[in-house]
Structures are given as structure tokens and as C-alpha cells.
Symmetry: C2
Subunit: 337 residues, 2 copies
């Protein structure tokens, strides 16, 4: 059973465990500072498919299959796949999971999707609704760029505040009890926070207040402080949003700088011309299911907050003058030994 | 705690209850055969908003507020809102819930969304992850038509197999224990089923095999037959998809005709020129949270299967030649006395 602690946080008694995980990335991401952490690096941005959209599906499918194999399972062992992506009607996940013959729950949380799928999966496992769940998310620079902004061939200029949508996918297998090394101890579902940002090239600023709200509430509910965690990662505020988050905590007399990182800032190197850092559902999914869980496995990290941040908007809502709404969902992951 | 029974079905021990519900519809839906069941009928398709998209959000917001008031709660009592819609990036739900200051989980299940949000909410309540949850879904003919098909002013012709996207929203408040009359006893998360249908004007045919798969598995897992239920409703196969579902059961020597209806066939009258019936997340949401739950309250129904059916596709996936993928999620709702 789960318990609610404080006003917003869910504490798991059965401690849903991560028994397998995998990250698949594109060529650019595979040339970045985390290149040694990924299970598969696709050199061909179309992944041998006839469209970028199907390439994204292929990457999510590969991440799911790899995570499942690493956990020692096949689809017939899995009760539910929980997945989402940035494409209209979440078709990236649809065509990734089409042939799985496994119950499927579709989510939409923009770039917070990996955290949302992990926390939903953890709740379902903790409750007994499922014994084994796969949580997954993906994004693709080319499919996102033409859907949200301009046709790639147009060569639209990106301002310095813009983030680069990662060509990446991540998947994790959750289960009730195993000899796995990590478990999800807490989860917190975020509230929408909107501070008037209307520039779709400045999504870090739109999401930072939501990240502050969720992480601050998690601190209060669990009576913890930043230094109780080895790392607190947001995904993905980018460089600008990350510095705004640090400022928001400073204003509340909390210093997170020693333990804080952002997946969007971690995925690419300074020389990769991504401006304010990475974004997209696949960015935080791949950084978690590549780098961070490996660091836990190698005993370099014991306890982390994974806080997925999403910008809730569409090209239509932006064109209609609506603001960008931020949301942040988080899970606490802890190594058992 | 929940228990898994059979291969796919979740049985709830804590029996999450529906303690409030509401349906809001547009003018056309308010002129149909169920007109006496809705809480609010909007005569203005823009609901006094500046766009159809915001009108859809307003309707979902009104459904949520009304359901909450009928349950005797306010947002500060609610732990989680779970909602989705058909608009790109689910912005209908975003702007419906923006000012709720309540944790929000976004879902995407196409027209199966109301069933998906109910079952997810039931799992979260049964587990102790939440004490009170709102499940909601919406759609709007005008916002859907221009996003999925043609600008309204173009006057595109609709073939006889086409369904009419309902301008409607529904919301239900779930909680752990109350003196409410209805509870969710079982849930089943559907698998994707794809039979090669590529015509976006024939979605009933694309979804019927998924509905068969889910309802048939529910029968097997719970060891029940059609006549164990007062009504089995799909939402929304439309007239054509509904007749295909009856055929699929007939082929398996199961007669569902005496207890079977489809929300898409129920919402509009024969003289309302909707061709194959209604569709859209709001159709089944409003028929459940308007007509069906009222029928339970009035003791005309005791036990029902609410099977939400979704067509997983996007205009891009259709243009790229991908098939339409069907999915069906279902909950069993039972009156306690």
C-alpha cells in the first residue's frame, strides 16, 4: 500500500523496484559527454525507417526491448506498458508498442513524461494492480522540429534561450520484488504553474517555477533538505531554466547548487551548439536510464530526486496567445544496499 | 489493495466510489435523445470564449466544477485530477485545469480517455496513493474538425461511415469510502489491436476488434457472461463499429445484443445527421456522467461495463500511410444497494 505523507507526496510501502533499464540515442547525443552510458547509439537519424516519426517509434521500441531483456523478461511477463511522447496524439508511443500485445496506458506530460510514467507505474505496482510495468518515453529532434516549429529544410534560426529536442528514448522495467538494486520510495504529482511566459523558445523559464513548486513540496512533505540527496536532477529545464530554479530556491534560503543538475544541461557538450541545452521527453528518459541509473549501479549515487518538467502547450495554443503552462512530476529513487 | 484476476483484469478490494459526476454538452447534443440527463447545455459553441479550443477547456472545467460541487468538495479536497482530450498536446485539459492548483496527471487514450482516467483513478485510490481523484475528458466538434480534418468553412463532405465528434465533457469524482451509491469493482487495461484499417473516416471498424479483445478478456477473467450485466456500453464505436462488435461476439458464440449499447449511437437521434454516430472523448464521458450514472442512481441499472474505445492515430500518421490502431479500456461499475 502507498501512504500520503504531507500534502502532496506518496510514500510506497512495497518499494517498486527498477529491475531493468535502457537508453537509446541519436548520433549527436552519442557524441556528447554521456556517450559511454547509452545502450544503443543510432548513427542514422531515420533508424532505417521511412519517416522520422517511425524512427522515433523504433528508438522507443528498442529502448523497451533492451530494458526488458536486461531485466530478463519478455512481453508476456509484462502487465502494462506506460508510455508517452511529444508527437501529436502520442503516435510515437503507439507505433513503438503496437506489436507488444501488452496492455498499454498512454500518458501526456510533455517533457515530464518519463517521471510521470515512472510514478504511475510505481503506484500501480505498489497497489497490486500490476506486477511488472514498463515505463518509457521518447523524442526525436526532426519529428519535433517540424511539428512544433519549422520544416527542417527551412533552416529556422534558434534564439539563445531555445533548447534542442533530444533524439533519444529511455525505458525502465518496474516490479514488485526482486533482487534489484534500486527502488522508488516516493512520488509527487505536480501542479500546473503558469507565470505568463508565452515564448515557445524559452520553455526553461516557463517550467522552472513548476519545478520549484514540486521539489519544494517534496522537501516539506518528506522533511528532507537538498543535502539528503546525492543528486537532484530536473529534466529538462536547460541551462537558463536551471539557473532560474537555483535562484528560486535561493530566494527561499535553500541552496541546491551542490547537488543539482539538469538532464538538458548534462546530455550535450558546450561545443555541440545546442544553445540552452537539451529537451524533449527522450532527454531526461535517456539521461536517467543511461547515465544516472548506471551511477547508482556503480555505487556513485545512493539517493536521487528525478524531477521531470513539462511545458504544456501546443503550436495552436501559442498562436492563440495562450501562455506556456509548466508542470513537474518527481520520483525519489534509492539504492537498497 | 488491488488483485489481478485472470490474465488482464484488476479487481479492487477498497472499491473506489463515484461520489459526484457531471456532464456538459453543446447545443446539438442538448437536442438529442439524452437531453434530459445533462447538467449544463451550452447554446453557444464558443462558450463565450475567443476560440473553440478554449471553449472545450471551459466545458471540461465546468464539468469538473459541477461534479466536484455535487460531491460536496472543492479543489483543496482533491488529491489528483486525471484528464485528457483529443487536442494536440492535450491542451484542452491543460487550460481546463490550469487554475485548479491541484496535482494533475495528463493521459492520452483518444476516445477511450474517460475509461482510462477512471481506471487510473480507481487504481490510485485503491492503493492509497490518493484519497480523492477527479477523472475527466472532453472533446469539441469544431476544435477536432479543424485539427483532424478540414477547416469548418471548407464544408468537407462526410462519408456514411464517419462519426461526429461530440461537443461534450464529463467528469467524475472518485474517493475511497463514502456513502455513495456506485463503486468501480474491476478494471482492464486494453492492448492495441490493429487490423489494417487506414480510413480515418471509418474509425468504428478500426476500434471494434480492440473492444472485442478487452470485453472478451474481461468475461474470461471474471468468469461472467453478457447477461451478468444490465448494460455493456462501448464509447464510441458508432453504429457501424457497434454492429461489427456484435458480429465478432457472434463468431465466438456469445450474444451481447440484449445488453449492448454504444455511447456514440445513444447521444444523437436518427434525424440529427451524424451519419455513423458520435465520437470524441467527450461523447462517452457525457453519456456515462449524464445518462448512465443517473440510471444507476434511479435504480434502473445495477451493474455495467463501461468500455472506452480509442483510435490511436494522428493526421500525420494517416498521411504517412500508417494504419489506425484500436485500443479499449474498461471498468465495471456496480450499485452498492
Amino acid at each position: 500500500m502507498a501512504r500520503r505523507i504531507g500534502k502532496y507526496t506518496i510514500a510506497f510501502d512495497n518499494l517498486p523496484e527498477i529491475c531493468g533499464y535502457a537508453a537509446v540515442v541519436g548520433k549527436k547525443e552519442g557524441n556528447g559527454p554521456l556517450k559511454g552510458c547509452f545502450d544503443v547509439i543510432k548513427q542514422d537519424s531515420k533508424c532505417n525507417q521511412k519517416s522520422w516519426e517511425l524512427a522515433e517509434s523504433k528508438m522507443q521500441q528498442t529502448a523497451i526491448n533492451t530494458a526488458m531483456q536486461k531485466a530478463g523478461y519478455k512481453f508476456s511477463d509484462i502487465d502494462i506498458i506506460i508510455a508517452g511522447d511529444l508527437l501529436n496524439q502520442c503516435v510515437g508511443s503507439t507505433f513503438a508498442c503496437l506489436n507488444s500485445n501488452t496492455p498499454f496506458l498512454g500518458l501526456y506530460g510533455a517533457c515530464s513524461t518519463m517521471a510521470e510514467s515512472l510514478l504511475t507505474g510505481a503506484c500501480l505496482i505498489d497497489s497490486g494492480s500490476a506486477n511488472k510495468v514498463i515505463a518509457a518515453a521518447s523524442s526525436h529532434f526532426c519529428s519535433a522540429e517540424r511539428q512544433y516549429r519549422f520544416p527542417l529544410a527551412y533552416g529556422g534560426q534558434r534564439p539563445p534561450t531555445a533548447q534542442w529536442t533530444a533524439t533519444a528514448a529511455g525505458a525502465a522495467v518496474l516490479e514488485k520484488s526482486n533482487n534489484s538494486k534500486f527502488c522508488i520510495t516516493h512520488a509527487i504529482i505536480g501542479k500546473m504553474v503558469e507565470m505568463g511566459i508565452k515564448d515557445a523558445n524559452n520553455m526553461g523559464a516557463a517550467m522552472a517555477p513548476a519545478a520549484f513548486d514540486t521539489i519544494y513540496n517534496l522537501f516539506i512533505d518528506t522533511n528532507t533538505k537538498p543535502h539528503d540527496y546525492d543528486i537532484i536532477v530536473t529534466g529538462d529545464l536547460g541551462d537558463l531554466g536551471a539557473s532560474l530554479l537555483v535562484n528560486l530556491f535561493n530566494e527561499n534560503k535553500i541552496d541546491i547548487t551542490r547537488v543539482y543538475s539538469d538532464c538538458g544541461s548534462m546530455l550535450y557538450g558546450d561545443n555541440q551548439d545546442v544553445h540552452s541545452g537539451g529537451s524533449g521527453c527522450g532527454c531526461s528518459a535517456a539521461v536517467l536510464c543511461g547515465h544516472l541509473l548506471d551511477e547508482m549501479l556503480n555505487k556513485n549515487l545512493k539517493k536521487l530526486i528525478f524531477a521531470g518538467t513539462g511545458a504544456l502547450m501546443s503550436p495552436t495554443s501559442i498562436q492563440q496567445g495562450q501562455p506556456i503552462v509548466g508542470i513537474c512530476h518527481a520520483v525519489v529513487i534509492e539504492r537498497k544496499e
